[in-house]
């Protein structure tokens, strides 16, 4: 089976430095894969290249057999790739329901969109309670849920999550990870970029460990959790 997302020899320059120095990475249909690494390892630059915010200096990115390089950001969702940006990026002054509706902006099947809206409210009860509240008044964790729900409203084939645990208290991080696992269990392909290695490894099936702009290690998440090098470097042991 060929991979849904395939990255080959990707190099990305960011602010004059080479942030990503040639990485290979692939994600298969239905997988939950995580990309972990410390601050400045090149995770965000990789993701920005995937989502079209940064232009790769070299290498190829293929999504569902289609090259992604040079594709404008706004066409990604039509191609089937939904980005949940770092820092959540909800529309703070629109209501929860309006935010979710925005996620389905490119879809024409209004009846199905309404069904999906109900589905999201089923998946995220907190959002249902606050459907007419403006998104800016939600807590950080609720905003993250909203951002994920909004991305799902576009019916993507794959979800790109950038640091969903950022700025959240430990208890809420657990909840968000549970949500991501549930979404993945329902068949969604997910690439989770995380600094919180332990949680990401507990949720994912496979993992890539990034260090100094290179993939230093990749294996199943279980193997990573038990690898002494990963434990020493990222799990604080």
């Amino acid at each position: 089976m060929s991979a849904l997302l395939e990255v080959k020899g990707l190099q990305v320059h960011y602010g004059g430095i080479q942030a990503v120095k040639g990485i290979d990475l692939d994600v298969h249909e239905g997988e939950l894969v995580t990309l972990i690494g410390a601050n400045g390892a090149g995770k965000t630059s990789t993701l920005n290249a995937l989502s079209g915010l940064l232009k790769p200096a070299a290498g190829s990115i293929t999504f569902a057999g289609q090259p992604l390089a040079g594709m404008p950001v706004h066409q990604l969702i039509t191609a089937g790739l939904a980005l949940v940006p770092e820092g959540r990026g909800v529309f703070p002054r629109l209501t929860v329901a309006e935010n979710l509706a925005m996620g389905a902006y490119v879809r024409a099947d209004q009846a199905e969109v309404r069904k999906d809206l109900d589905r999201m409210f089923g998946l995220f009860e907190r959002l249902h309670e606050r459907r007419d509240q403006k998104a800016g008044t939600l807590s950080g964790g609720e905003q993250q849920m909203l951002a994920i729900g909004r991305a799902l409203m576009g019916r993507p084939r794959m979800l790109l999550l950038d640091e969903p645990s950022m700025g959240l208290a430990p208890l809420m991080v657990q909840k968000i990870i549970a949500v991501i696992r549930q979404v993945a269990a329902e068949g969604m392909t997910v690439l989770l970029v995380e600094q919180n290695a332990r949680l990401a490894l507990q949720a994912a099936q496979r993992a890539y460990v990034m260090e100094g702009g290179r993939i230093s290690f990749s294996d199943t998440a279980h193997a990573c959790l038990n690898d002494p090098r990963v434990r020493a470097a990222y799990l604080g042991e």
């Binding site: 410390a38 601050n39 400045g40 989502s51 915010l53 404008p72 950001v73 706004h74 066409q75 990604l76 969702i77 039509t78 939904a82 980005l83 949940v84 820092g87 990026g89 909800v90 529309f91 703070p92 002054r93 629109l94 309006e98 509706a101 925005m102 996620g103 902006y105 490119v106 309670e129 606050r130 509240q133 403006k134 800016g136 008044t137 939600l138 807590s139 950080g140 964790g141 609720e142 909004r150 991305a151 576009g154 645990s165 950022m166 700025g167 959240l168 208290a169 430990p170 208890l171 809420m172 991080v173 600094q195 919180n196 290695a197 332990r198 949680l199 260090e211 100094g212 990222y234 604080g236």
Partner: protein, 375 residues
Amino acid sequence: MKSRYLPLLLVVGIAALPFVTDIALGRSWVRLLDFALLYAMLALGLNIVVGYAGLLDLGYVAFYAVGAYSYAMLASPHIGIHLPLYVLLPTGALLAAAFGALLGAPTLGLRGDYLAIVTMGFGEIIRIFLRNLSITNGPAGIDLIDPIAIGGFSFSASHTLFGFTLPGIYNYYFLFVGLTTLILLMSKRLEGSRIGRAWAAIREDEIAAKAMGLNTKNLKLLAFAMGATFGGISGVLFAGFQGFVSPESFTMNESVMILCMVVLGGMGHLRGVLLGALLLAILPEAFRPLAQLQQSAFDQVYLDPANLRMLLFAVALIAVMILRPEGLWPSPVRKRELHDKEGDDRPLPPSGQPTGSDSVPGHTGVSAADAGGVA
């Protein structure tokens, strides 16, 4: 029952307004009403750019100028062409829209202050061109412009209706009321449409809007072009109404004034913008009697009435902005936006549980299980 008769009352009130004004204040005030309506159309146009899409435009008067000059040049002895309104109104609107897109294209990457400066420059470029080109007759402007006429009906001539003789300013009043209503309805439809919601999303968070699949470039261009269209239409009407155009009518002060109307009334809220436009168009005139007041009180005019008027006008503006930063009649959304300082107004959820308890203050990104820091 009140709501049932309100629309009827409004129609009667609007229809009676010029007659009442004429009797109570004099004919020059009816003319002022006409101008106020032209400003209302301009403010509604700018509201699309500033209020809906959140793009600060300080050169909006350029589109008014494009509309006015397109009519002036094609319906006057200046070149010797006299085209009818049904040709010139769409021409002015389309030309202004084209200029709107022309301005929009190079500014797409700019936001906030930078965008304001570039648009301001654009406004000045247009004015200086009009002043220096011979085809626009330079600083002297274009005179003897045909009055607006539909079929054989000239709006500038007096017409007799039911035995009453109505001078031109009345005709224009009703024409402008009609067109303002039309622009108001179009804006209303636009606001609730797919495009309107997309503009709101861009105003809120451009990157997130892109991630939702919004083509932000095209949507911003559309906002500039739509806003410019209304500006162009107002310009055409202005040229026909005034019978004379010159570059002096399209200075940056006008752009600032139109922006003030939008901001003062309540950005993005149609009724507020309309109120702001009418108020700011009429207010400077309302301060005019102050000179006579000075004369009678002190036997001497200490302050030049023109300056005094502008001073009071400025004080009134500042007072409003301090006391009601969201505008006189804001939209509920805008009101929330301006009174929202990083969630200090979080309402309690219906269940009574406080929200926000799960956020780490300051979003430092450090959580218990995170042990990064290894290079």
